[in-house]
């Protein structure tokens, strides 16, 4: 028989495989539907509305900052192709405002994107949603969301000796995960503004962007939601 999870409002007495059990108020109990209906009808139990997934309330507050090179380099074309950039976001493109330039938080909720890093529109939408509040809670939501650059290599495995030394001086231990900075989801707050300001200042000086981002992040202590390095691809596969 299918069972239902209910939460006790009053003490609940029931049998589980011949054993008499008691659930105290607040506890969750998994019982048959008939028992659950009785308790629900009498007000002894409730099925609370589950924490709903956060969602994007207003796309007018969301934008994409498409990064252009701060310093010209051979592997990054100088031409801006607005149509191609927007097309990468699929049906989200019509909802989001696009700007081009160095990394910046242009909207309350900004995706900072360095083409040609792949973008899966569905994952882009979920990333934005994760920066929004759950209904029924006043907890501060995540300020940033970023994918890991690797799940087996740490900061001591990336970048030049100079960059690693600089990061070690800043954060103390290089045995930490590194973030993929080609695609970042950012909610505008004082802390995230400070992270991006620090990061851009170092980028202008030619710093390794992954190490510079770690140093900036550590200094500002943002609420960072970390996702797997292939989060977007896995999102598509498992949807």
């Amino acid at each position: 028989m299918a069972k239902v999870w209910v939460q006790a409002i009053t003490a609940l007495h029931y049998e589980n495989q011949g054993v008499h059990c008691t659930a105290e108020p607040g506890e969750w109990v998994n019982v048959g539907k008939h028992q659950a209906r009785q308790w629900l009808a009498s007000g002894q139990a409730v099925i609370p509305k589950p924490a709903t997934r956060a969602k994007v309330e207003e796309y007018g507050l969301c934008g994409v900052r498409v990064r252009v090179p701060l310093v010209a380099s051979a592997d990054w074309g100088a031409q801006i192709d607005e149509d191609t950039d927007k097309a990468a976001f699929g049906d989200l493109a019509d909802k989001l405002t696009f700007t081009w330039g160095e990394p910046a938080i242009t909207h309350d909720y900004t995706i900072i994107w360095k083409p040609p890093a792949p973008v899966i529109p569905a994952a882009a939408k979920v990333g934005l949603a994760r920066l929004h509040s759950f209904e029924g809670t006043d907890a501060e939501p995540w300020e940033m969301l970023a994918m890991l650059a690797s799940e087996t290599k740490w900061a001591n495995g990336f970048g030049s000796r100079e960059e690693r030394d600089k990061t070690e001086a800043a954060i103390g231990d290089l045995r930490v995960p590194v973030y993929n900075t080609a695609l970042l989801w950012v909610r505008r707050t004082e802390r995230t503004e400070a992270v991006v300001a620090r990061w851009v200042a170092e980028l202008r000086e030619g710093a390794d962007e992954r190490h510079a981002f770690l140093r900036a992040l550590y200094a500002e202590r943002v609420l960072m939601c970390t996702v797997n390095m292939d989060w977007q691809r896995k999102y598509v596969e498992w949807k």
């Binding site: 999870w5 607040g26 506890e27 969750w28 589950p50 924490a51 709903t52 997934r53 956060a54 979920v126 949603a129 994760r130 759950f134 809670t137 907890a139 501060e140 939501p141 995540w142 300020e143 890991l148 799940e151 087996t152 740490w154 900061a155 954060i171 103390g172 231990d173 045995r175 930490v176 995960p177 550590y218 202590r221 943002v222 609420l223 960072m224 939601c225 970390t226 996702v227 797997n228 292939d230 989060w231 896995k234 999102y235 596969e237 498992w238 949807k239």
Partner: protein, 200 residues
């Protein structure tokens, strides 16, 4: 700032493993050690009545139970092989919680039962969350971590099984300033983790 180390131990296996772990800890640090659950000689003891799976129930109430302002929690089946002060340095830098991501499983949230896995993935809106291992945690008491632990306790009571699925759901509802450390600190050269050895 009072710092210390907390273990949770219920049952003979867990006490034995925790005692081993504490011996290895002592080779590197002289921080005070508190054990929640059943006593281990040479440590402070906090008796606490279990509920459901007692070790997990204690873990999701750890913030209230720890006597320290800044706490390092270690699973009983860990072995300390190096310097653990990094985590406290992270707290000193202003972060609220330092933990280590788990190694990738063959499928998302593999350790969870089917119903909890499906509900967790649905609520996170995420098809393959980073699983964060709760066997090694540095934390300090703040408004956000207080809220996180309250939420973690509520979430764990929904299924009363593993604590890590509940932690993911709790973090999603009550984010904190979480700094991730690499696997050397949980399952590597600094903290070896003999997963499952403490269970009865």
């Amino acid at each position: 700032m009072e710092i210390g180390v907390v273990y949770i131990a219920y049952g003979h296996n867990a006490r034995t493993e925790a005692a081993h772990s504490i011996r290895t800890l002592r080779r590197h640090h002289d921080w005070p050690v508190t054990v929640i659950g059943e006593p281990i000689p040479g440590t402070q003891h906090i008796p606490w009545r279990g509920f459901g799976k007692p070790g997990r129930w204690a873990k999701v109430n750890l913030l209230d139970l720890s006597p320290f302002e800044w706490t390092l929690y270690l699973d009983a089946d860990t072995r300390v092989r190096g310097d653990l002060s990094t985590g406290f340095d992270v707290l000193a830098a202003g972060w609220e919680l330092a933990m280590v991501p788990s190694k990738r499983e063959p499928r998302p949230l593999d350790i969870l039962a089917t119903d909890e896995r499906e509900i967790t993935l649905s609520e996170l809106g995420d098809c393959w969350p980073v699983m964060i291992n709760s066997g090694v945690m540095w934390f300090r008491r703040t408004a956000r971590t207080t809220r996180l632990w309250q939420t973690w306790s509520e979430e764990w009571q929904r299924f009363k099984q593993h604590d890590q699925g509940a932690l993911l759901r709790a973090l999603n509802r009550s984010p904190v300033a979480l700094w991730l450390l690499g696997r050397p600190f949980n399952g590597g050269e600094v903290v070896e983790h003999l997963f499952g050895r403490a269970r009865t």
